[in-house]
Symmetry: C2
Subunit: 292 residues, 2 copies
């Protein structure tokens, strides 16, 4: 029985009242302080190699599929024919890897503010970073907020906001002016998804982000959805789907096409049944959104 946990051997997330801890093996595979944050990679017995930013788990080899499959394939199949994609953040490469499974995609632009995250992943997390040298990808090390401010109108079919928590460098990815630019850069019929925190652990941030999106896209066109992610606090995580010009999140999906794709690509989490089910929210989550 564990009697004591300490930061020399455990990655500990949480607050003063709850904690979620993953043991690592002491020796750090990678550690570098970037201009933005401390980037580390640890070996953990439970979840394999684990990327940590400022001491908090960003992703692990064993459970990252849930996050990356769900932030990507939901909007991909909701849209049906995505060609041009913008990813804000996502430096570990998992989101780009999932996007590039879709043959319709012609070009992906990824704007990651911290090149140290990309380097750590390329050096130590090959299963995540495998697509970062794909010829369809343009990788820009820079500020995603400035990028969307300067991007052309209606340049993308899909924009994925794969950010960390809304403190530090990702803070500006959770506000109205940013999402207005995202909306402007989407083509008619385009869609976006954003990492939107835990309805249990960050109830306020979750509600505020959805409120922002409703203001920009219209209330009827914003649809939060849920994913089980065991290495994030409380295990309940959310993404927000928003559509420019009313594209429904699941009504146009071709289930047999999804099934073929998920089998061929050997996905671990996403499937045709999950697609619609993820949008069904527990009542207390609806209440947070003012819906119940």
């Amino acid at each position: 029985m564990l009697l004591q946990l300490d930061r020399d051997h455990w990655l500990i997330d949480g607050n003063d009242n709850i904690a979620f801890s993953i043991r690592h093996q002491g020796n750090c595979l990678f550690r570098q302080q970037s201009p933005f944050q401390l980037i580390e990679v640890f070996n953990t017995p439970e979840y394999g190699k684990t990327l940590a930013v400022d001491g908090l788990v960003m992703c692990t080899e064993k459970d990252e599929a849930a996050y990356h499959e769900m932030i990507v394939h939901i909007p991909m199949f909701a849209h049906g024919c995505v060609q041009d994609v913008l990813v804000i953040g996502g430096g570990d490469g998992g989101t780009v890897r999932e996007i590039l499974r879709h043959p319709s995609v012609q070009a992906v632009t990824m704007v990651e503010i911290d090149e140290v995250v990309v380097r750590a992943s390329c050096q130590h997390l090959p299963t995540l970073s495998s697509a970062l040298n794909d010829p369809k990808l343009q990788l820009i090390i820079g500020d995603g907020i400035e990028y969307v401010q300067q991007a052309q109108d209606e340049a993308f079919d899909l924009i994925v906001v794969d950010s960390s928590d809304p403190i530090g460098p990702a803070e500006g990815l959770f506000n109205l002016s940013f999402f207005k630019e995202v909306h402007r850069c989407l083509r008619s019929g385009g869609v976006m998804t954003a990492q939107s925190e835990s309805p249990w652990f960050h109830a306020q941030a979750f509600a505020a982000l959805n409120q922002c999106l409703q203001t920009v896209f219209g209330q009827a066109y914003v649809h939060p959805y849920l994913v089980f992610i065991p290495t994030y606090p409380t295990g309940m995580w959310s993404f927000a789907y928003a559509a420019k010009d009313s594209r429904h999140p699941w009504q146009n999906c071709d289930h047999s096409q999804i099934s073929q794709f998920t089998k061929k690509e050997n996905l671990q989490y996403y499937n045709a049944g999950i697609h619609q089910a993820a949008f069904q929210l527990p009542t207390f989550v609806k209440t947070l959104l003012g819906e119940a």
Copy 2:
């Protein structure tokens, strides 16, 4: 930033490699060693009053609704007209409270092995134990395994196995001979649900319990479903639904009836959308069950 967690101030669940911790306020509201286990009640700042058994969280005031609503209302609405119910375990009272929200229910028998759990809940968890003095309830302090062995054939429309983990007193609630008796005690068209652990944290126990149920009820009539429970390890928890004589888990549900009920009863988690969605499993969970 938390530097260290210790058992004097934290309830810590997990194994050698991962830990889930809830801070309590030091003073224990209730502590008694029963013949089976150590029962404690703590005040926790994050989740309110918390019942712990052998140092592990059993339920908390703030998130217990997810567990109790989902283990009860899913089989209730799948069946449509439950009159006689047997609950094995469930000493805190939350399951009985949810069952007795349904006016069709005429009698509930609850068999809890540990009277100290019942006493702790009655003394300190009034929102959980509120229905334990209902005249429709017969509360038996005794062994649930012996009870079902001696129970009449086809005596119940619904049997809920609300057990703790399959170590200690609940071990015998996870095996073939127990579920054969449960099957025998169900009426034709009857249904059961069982707490079936976390597909992430107890993958083997989850798979083994479903295998048992498939052997007894037939593969097509066993349907696991998932619930977000933030105070259990990994946050992903499962229940197993099994039907005697093929009653489908959602196809006969009346959505408008569910919606009326959930509003009237002010439920926190379960709703008409969640009912079907909870049965949609991520691919890795299907793989554990040999389905993918």
